[in-house]
Symmetry: C2
Subunit: 605 residues, 2 copies
Amino acid sequence: MGNKLKRVVIGKPMKSGELEEEKLSKMKALAVLSSDALSSVAYGTEQILIVLVTLGFAAVWYSIPISIAVLGLLTILILSYRQTIYSYPSGGGAYLVAKDNLGVGTGLIAGGSLLVDYILTVAVSSSAGTDAITSAFPSLHDHRVLVSLIMILFLTIMNLRGITESASILALPVYLFVAAIFVLIIAGLIKYVMGGIHAEVPELGTAVSNVSLFLLLKAFSSGCSALTGVEAVSNAIPNFKQPAEKNAAKTLVAMGMILGSMFIGISLLAYWYGISPTPEETVVSKIAEATFGRGVLYYLIQGVTALILFLAANTAYAAFPLLAFMLAKDKFMPHMFKVRGDRLGFSNGIIILGVLSALLVIVFHGDTENLIPLYAVGVFIPFTLSQFGMMVRWIRLKPEGWIIKLLINTIGMITTLTITLIFIFTKFSQIWMVFIFLPLVIFLFFRIHRHYMNIADELRINLESDKPEIKGSTIVIPVAGITRVVLHSISYAKSLTDNVVAVFVAFDEEEIRKMEEKWEEWNPGVRLIILRSRYRSVMRPLMKFIDTVEWKTAETDHITILIPQFITKHWWQNLLHNQTSLLIRAYLYNQKDIVIATVPYHLNR
Amino acid sequence: MGNKLKRVVIGKPMKSGELEEEKLSKMKALAVLSSDALSSVAYGTEQILIVLVTLGFAAVWYSIPISIAVLGLLTILILSYRQTIYSYPSGGGAYLVAKDNLGVGTGLIAGGSLLVDYILTVAVSSSAGTDAITSAFPSLHDHRVLVSLIMILFLTIMNLRGITESASILALPVYLFVAAIFVLIIAGLIKYVMGGIHAEVPELGTAVSNVSLFLLLKAFSSGCSALTGVEAVSNAIPNFKQPAEKNAAKTLVAMGMILGSMFIGISLLAYWYGISPTPEETVVSKIAEATFGRGVLYYLIQGVTALILFLAANTAYAAFPLLAFMLAKDKFMPHMFKVRGDRLGFSNGIIILGVLSALLVIVFHGDTENLIPLYAVGVFIPFTLSQFGMMVRWIRLKPEGWIIKLLINTIGMITTLTITLIFIFTKFSQIWMVFIFLPLVIFLFFRIHRHYMNIADELRINLESDKPEIKGSTIVIPVAGITRVVLHSISYAKSLTDNVVAVFVAFDEEEIRKMEEKWEEWNPGVRLIILRSRYRSVMRPLMKFIDTVEWKTAETDHITILIPQFITKHWWQNLLHNQTSLLIRAYLYNQKDIVIATVPYHLNR
């Protein structure tokens, strides 16, 4: 039944050889990997304007140079990650780059903050998507958490079904969003050029009395939140169709160009239309309204914007399992993240991501807005480390043209580092958790690593000298009476060795006498030892007896405890039987180096 | 840690030989077994008056003849159960008497309704006790369910600690209650005789216009709720010190006399004082107030009354596990109810009673008043069946003086049957559940019985002809690599037989090649078979392989699957390893008649 359900929800299992077919074409990759980055257009310009209007409306013109600066940073990041893709064709996330060039510890800082970040992405994006839905259907407002959880469940199932399938479903809204924003920008531009807009706007270069570098930097760093998600492509190179690096690089550049033009377009329109942000309405909504009025096109733009915010979470579903896989391969995370599931995705990573982000949504009752700065810091730390790693790499390898490459990464590193510092400096009250969680996660990575290393050490054998050794054998069979299961077990034991002992635990003299008589009558050719239990416990006398046997024969013999066990036809029937054999198993299993064998006897009725 | 906690809460385990010391003296038995019956004094008279006042105040004089009738019924029940005690010295609950004389089916009806009834007793009594507490401390009213659950937990722990110990703690309030009620009755009597009461009361025999036999019978049956709990002594004979029957009979008679005199005393005072019941104040409270005023004695009486209502639940803790034991001995209930725990009580019965009554309290939010009629019917059905059983017994055995004995039981049977019918007739809307639950419980009894019988049949062997048979042996070892655990397992297997095969599941060609090479280099003297898995499942190819081995060798060989298993030092470390071996075990265990042996290897780090 459970298996059938799994088939319906997840689909039939796929052969390992089908992996290549599951890989992404450029068009689909753009949809799967860029929804996080592209969705930032919905709020990037707004973030800048929110900081600027605190200086007065005259300051809004600064949004243009700041947007250009963000665009510059985007260019640097794209160029930098393009270099990374070619340098690390098997997937060059911040973890790999930092580990490779700056050492394992630094790599783990980058990897750890990205892992946590992906969980935040899913929680924040699904909550934001829910907000968009509940704005449209206010009656759902009381069920926000439920709606978010349903979204997370939906994403988890889609990703468990496989990469291609989820790409096919998810590509449409992404391209719809891109198309809608471009239509908006072009229509807005035409309207502006035709003189259809009569807004009073401060001219570029207008003097603003109380402007400070700090505030401009703050506005810049807020605008940089539009850049989260850019790293997704370079993490996911193994998901691309061959030639993977080339396809990934092209996808990255395409994404950068789309993102850049949408971002600058929105910023320009916002400036020309003289829009200042208000809490009630988004900047994009205001632009759309000014351009089209509240018609079909306006609602279409709002609708796809809500949808893309929700889909942004899907980027994390592509990136988290891959990063977890890489960390698991290096033995910093549990083995289970290395296993591909029935549909060739890393199911465990997908499930864990779903569960953890769902927990976040539940704990924060769907109000995850406070997590956004945390989430931005979590992105810029690995950005910085990754670029620093690339710098070290160029200096170390010095390939052709390395000076320019080094320059690109150096500029990138300094910028991202500055943004990280600004974040820490201006929003410490919201991001201090990073400095607790990150060390904790890294501590766990190292603990896990040590455990795997210790086990490997302990289990390693010398192929030359460590060979199997043959010893004698003693088999102990605890019996609860003379039944077919016991007969079966004794037959089995006697087929293996002559050293077989049956043990019976009795509670009173009467029982001892009866058992002795019956055993003598049966005479199965095996010695019966009767233990007297004064405390009505079967385990204690049995364990004492096994201790004695061990003490006497462990040198010369392998000791086996053979447990006769009948297995009922229906699970509920187990309630009708004392599960002493399970107790014996559990106890021995944890306590002793003794082989425990179960002789099952399946009941027919 | 868990074990230590258990010791503190329950106490140290006791030897089976200490059972006799755990048995009850008459004084303690009276306390443990009679709190249910004696507590009825707190509401018995009131139940009669509530029905009568619907006819007008003039009708309250009927309470005197009705109380005398109840007293008569009590006498009959006591005489009847006294006969039962001597006839069934090993415990003569309604279940045993009915089963013995009327057949198993009837016995199960009696036993089943008593079992359900004991659960109701605990739920109803603990809720009633809670009401008394929350009347005194209204701030606790919102935590009624919690208070009830704490009471149930307390009773459960006391009973797990052992019978004597709980008797010692519980005896005091019972005797305090008896003493307090007697002081009240005597003081009230003196006050009445000295002419200290000037109430207008209708004279005995006053004509009442609208009186009907039906209403009088209803008042009588309501008064009979004072008789619930009388059967507890005859169920619990094995808990008495030797000579058990004599002690039990004396205890029963003593209880009857105390109950009878308290009941008639309260009824007389209520009549003389001209008390009619009101919802705000109990009849006992009104009598106490009229006698002592609202002084220390008044509050003492109210206090111990509340306490005894709560302790009434304890009677069920003595009776339920014993009845469950008897049903389990006859294979109508799971074996586990036959086992005596560390402190010699039937722990499983005690725990199940606690859990089920706690569930009832939770489901009904502590408002269990509606369950009271259900609870009375649940008592009178087995009363009737038990007496009917005794009638059949006298007719069958015809001992000396059987006519009188038969007469006593016949009168008793007719009376209790009438009361049962009146209950069904007048309160069907509250008791219809009995006719759903009772058949269900009895159906379960029979299903359980059939299961045990089937298994006994299936497992029974012929001691003459069924002897152990010696066959060959094939051992299959699934390996995941070449490690110390595998070395250990191969050593073990080779010590038992030469027919050993190692199986390895590989996911790709590369893996196959590597494993083949390494195995050849190691050369442990065991053949390695490599299975190729195209769906990344270890289980499926392995199971197919085992099927093949079974098909080839099951005729001549015992097949053993030997599972190498390393055991981590800390439980959480298991999260770091794929638990494939557990999967293999679980699957084989449920599917195949193959011996599954685990070779544990305990990691040190």
